[in-house]
């Protein structure tokens, strides 16, 4: 299918989300749409999929001008969309989800499960998408859930597949698998619109890359374009992709973790005998595929999860099984993995969020009464120092973009006296400009002698920031290596291989 967008303009009130967008996707082409958060990518996709109606412009499919009033009409014109947040019923099986809305029935309107399962096997086989039709969605890993979404679109005979930030929730291996699927679909003649803000991915899989910024098309380039070229097109200025980090001699150990065992919510030992040190003035990067116990390890460090056995020592003092408040008082700085869940109170103001875990510390309160002028003063200072883009310090933090929300947390954690910093996926979901900023802040802290533990499933981030890299697999540390180690070897450790890697 060939789809052409001509001069699409979409406005929300006074704000123009899409401004005269032109775009052509040829049959069998993987067309990447690259842009920062807030550039208008998702809005454009919602226009194509009929969720939103543009004020101006037209959509032309195979030479015929079409107009969609809702997504059902788009599906009928063979457009399929895989949303960033999956639209699956968690307690239904794969087969039930795929046929939902188009159920094959037997007599008396009973669902024909066999026919549904057969349909899935047919489509799975045709495109090499292996999924068990009888598996229940909530028991499947994220990567497979996404595959079900793709299957669902394909079983409705989609010729154009829109993938909205599909890799944001996937592990590196799952991303590889997804890219293979995309290539095989393109080979079978499907058109693919792939939306992302990750440069490596577009270069790896795209046939054409269109960059949009502030609702406008900046230009289209072949995948041979360099990463820094793409980044500057996205951001509108030159971006420094490598982290400048001068050597810094590490000091004494600030955080010692010994034989730590922590159970997850299901009662399994998610952290199973971890021993790890972080020294002052160094960044220890913890690499690993997500779900290998990193989350539980960080929660244990933050005092939010009970420690089964083993010890945690901060500056020589045993803090095993301390409460969150005690850990904060011992100098823990914590940038949580899920910032909206654990790091912010969205309806509350920027100023309040900047003192969220220090409300009783002078000068923000005295004898149980808050000193709001000190809180405001602090907020104004942090907004300026950390370049938080907000219309007002009274604005609810929910009104800020993801990057600025993260800056609020970074500002809050880095502006109080710390013994060590734990940063979990500190740049997940952020645009290039914000990533650059957060990285620089963390490196600055390390240069000033702070011990930092970074947990990240992005290998690039681990390699760029780590002074030492620990790799975690199934609750254990499979190796501690230095950042000059090859990607292949770290990859082997991430996969749990016991291969000996030279280190230290």
């Amino acid at each position: 299918m060939r789809i052409e967008l001509r001069g699409i303009t979409k406005k929300f009130g006074f704000f123009t989300a899409n401004d005269q967008i032109d775009l052509i996707v040829e049959p069998g082409e993987i067309h990447c749409l690259l842009g920062e958060n807030g550039a208008g990518k998702s809005t454009l996709m919602n226009v194509i999929f009929g969720h939103l109606q543009p004020e101006e412009g037209e959509i032309v499919i195979d030479g015929e001008t079409v107009k969609f009033n809702n997504s059902g009409e788009a599906v009928r014109r063979r457009i399929g969309m895989v949303h960033q947040h999956f639209m699956l019923v968690p307690v239904f099986t794969v087969a039930e989800n795929v046929v939902l809305g188009f159920e094959p029935t037997k007599s008396f309107n009973r669902l024909d499960r066999k026919k549904a399962a057969d349909e899935i096997r047919r489509v799975s086989k045709e495109y090499g998408l292996e999924v068990d039709p009888d598996a229940v969605i909530e028991e499947l890993p994220i990567g497979l859930q996404q595959r079900v979404e793709i299957l669902k679109a394909l079983s409705q005979d989609a010729e154009l597949l829109i993938l909205d930030e599909p890799t944001a929730v996937l592990t590196p291996q799952e991303i590889e698998a997804l890219m293979a699927i995309m290539r095989s679909l393109a080979k079978a003649g499907k058109s693919i619109l792939f939306i992302t803000h990750k440069l490596k991915e577009v270069k790896a899989v795209g046939d054409v890359i269109t960059v949009i910024r502030q609702g406008k098309v900046v230009g289209s380039v072949p995948p041979s374009a360099s990463e820094s070229e793409l980044a500057s097109m996205m951001v509108g200025r030159d971006v420094n992709l490598t982290v400048n980090k001068e050597a810094s001699p590490p000091g004494e150990e600030v955080l010692e973790i010994r034989d730590l065992v922590v159970r997850d919510d299901r009662g399994l030992a998610a952290v199973n005998g971890v021993t790890l040190d972080v020294r002052a003035g160094e960044i220890m990067a913890l690499a690993g595929v997500q779900g290998n116990g990193q989350t539980e390890l960080v929660e244990a460090l933050a005092g939010m999860r009970r420690i089964e056995s083993g010890t945690i020592t901060v500056k020589g003092r045993d803090v095993t099984n301390s409460k969150p408040r005690q850990m904060l008082d011992r100098g823990l700085g914590h940038i949580p993995e899920d910032r909206q869940r654990d790091g912010l109170v969205l309806p509350m103001s920027v100023a309040d969020n900047l003192v969220l875990n220090t409300p009783r510390r002078a000068p923000f309160a005295r004898r149980g009464s808050r000193n709001l002028s000190a809180v405001d003063e602090n907020a104004l200072k942090q907004v300026k120092d950390f370049d938080i883009r907000t219309t007002s310090i009274r604005e609810p933090v929910s009104a800020l973009s993801g990057g600025n929300q993260q800056k609020v947390i970074v500002a809050r954690e880095l502006s109080r006296p710390l013994a060590f910093l734990v940063a979990s996926q500190p740049t997940r979901g952020l645009d290039v400009g914000s990533i650059e900023y957060v990285h620089r802040q963390i490196v600055n802290q390390r240069n000033e002698g702070l011990g930092v533990l970074i947990v990240s499933s992005e290998l690039d981030e681990v390699l760029a920031l780590g002074d030492r890299i620990a790799v975690m697999h199934e609750g254990r540390i499979t190796g501690v290596v230095d950042p000059t180690t090859s990607r292949e070897n770290i990859g082997l450790l991430m996969a749990g291989s016991s291969i000996k890697v030279d280190h230290d």
């Binding site: 989300a17 947040h85 999956f86 939010m304 969150p324 869940r341 149980g368 808050r370």
Partner: protein, 429 residues
């Protein structure tokens, strides 16, 4: 929090950056005051329809509009006369009667008559404000204290017991009585508080059920020697000594019932504002209420917050109960805060109406008290049943609870994009 359209948009579409809002949109769609006033307007409009459809003279006039040239005009006039008379009675019965008031100003006499309506409204509003704040503070912490009524009954019982036990000087007796009421409420609030904090029992179930337990406990103590009026077989308590009563502001001779209790309500409102906006503990409460996960990560002890919020909420509800007894009846009987008189239940509605903000709760309480008091006057003056006031109350609450509907009715802002945006959210978000 779906009343905030900008938030909804911002959350639903991560690609929409912050849009600077104009003063007009801020005023027209964001302000809860504007929305509450519009809900009130709708309540009275729907009330007018109910009057029209339930008054035979009005309906007959409309049936006969084809009988003569002047009939349509007559029908309109009858309609306006009836609706106008009802709402006039509602107003004059709850605020002031302007001619009567003017008469007092001119002659300087009959002030008691002129001020009776507003005095009655304030009398009913006083305990309601306190109970509303009890519920509102809990709501802001994310705790649904449905048991304010039971806690108020406990406060009333305890206050009545202390107030009627022995005679002593008022400057000791009144504080003791009030303290007893607060403690009664604290005890009733502690039960669901500890149960939730230490066993995870859901507070809605526990508080709801405790209301029944306490209602029967009330009858039990009223029939026991501890509280029962001597030489009586009815479920009625002894009367509080006058030294324990909250005296009428203008003296017993004036006949105006509004009491010193309104100063207690004012103090509670100030406390609630300070607590929620200015105190460190209140800040912890609001963090917990808005995001329990972030509260935990910020080192807030959730268990302690749950217990303390129930102690505060229960204590305030108990205070509402004792203020009610000490300023009006001065005794409790088996009907105390039962059925329609259950201020602890009205308090939930009032807290909703006032969006759990102290001043909002004050306005909500005054409105509810005025509709109740004025409704009785309307029934007496025009024969339109008191239930109409209840209908207006209900409609107002309904519209306050569904701000999107109000915005849609008054076309405050086109919301065509919103429904669609919400639909694009998946279960994982």
């Amino acid at each position: 929090m779906t009343d905030n359209m900008d938030d909804v948009l911002a959350q639903a579409d991560p690609d929409t950056p912050v849009v600077r809002r104009s003063l007009w949109t801020r005023f027209s769609s964001k302000s809860p005051i504007v929305l509450a006033l519009l809900a009130l307007v709708l309540g009275f409009l729907i009330g007018a329809l109910v009057i029209i459809f339930s008054t035979n003279t009005v309906l007959d006039a409309w049936r006969n509009i084809f009988s003569s040239w002047g009939a349509p005009w007559d029908a309109l006039k009858v309609t306006f006369d009836n609706v106008g008379a009802a709402y006039r009675a509602l107003f004059t019965g709850s605020v002031i009667d302007p001619p009567q008031f003017w008469h007092s100003i001119v002659t300087g006499k009959q002030w008691d008559n002129s001020l009776t309506p507003i005095s009655e409204t304030l009398t009913y509003a006083t305990p309601l404000i306190i109970a509303g704040i009890a519920v509102g503070i809990a709501f802001q912490t994310g705790i649904f204290n449905i048991g304010a009524n039971g806690q108020a009954i406990m406060g009333g019982i305890a206050g009545c017991a202390v107030g009627s036990m022995i005679n002593m000087p008022a400057f000791i007796h009144i504080p003791l009585t009030l303290a007893a009421g607060i403690i009664g409420g604290v005890i009733a609030g502690a039960i669901p508080g500890f149960l939730k904090a230490y066993t995870g029992a859901h507070e809605v179930i526990v508080t709801l059920m405790l209301n029944y337990v306490i209602a029967f406990f009330l009858v039990f103590v009223l029939l026991s020697t501890a509280l029962q009026l001597p030489n009586q077989s009815n479920d009625i308590s002894r009367t509080m000594y006058s030294s324990a009563q909250l005296a009428p502001l203008f003296g017993t001779a004036s006949g105006l019932r509004v009491s010193y209790g309104i100063f207690i309500a004012a103090a509670v409102v100030y406390f609630a504002w300070w607590f929620l906006d200015r105190s460190s503990l209140g800040f912890d409460f609001r963090i917990t209420g808005n995001n329990p996960n972030a509260a935990k990560a910020s080192g807030i002890n959730a268990r302690r917050v749950v217990v303390v919020v129930f102690l505060i909420s229960g204590g305030l509800a108990g205070l509402a109960g004792v203020v009610q007894v000490a300023s009006t009846t001065h005794y409790v009987d088996g009907n105390f805060l039962i059925g329609n008189a259950g201020i602890g239940f009205t308090a939930i509605t009032v807290a909703l109406l006032g969006r759990n903000r102290p001043m909002g709760i004050v306005w909500g309480s005054l409105l509810f008290a005025a509709l109740g008091v004025g409704g009785r006057n309307m029934q007496a003056a025009t024969g339109i049943p008191l239930d109409l006031a209840t209908i207006i109350q209900s409609v107002v609450v309904l519209f306050v609870a569904t701000p999107v509907l109000v915005k849609e009715i008054f076309r405050l802002r086109s919301s065509s994009a919103q429904g669609i945006q919400l639909a694009t959210k998946g279960w994982s978000s």
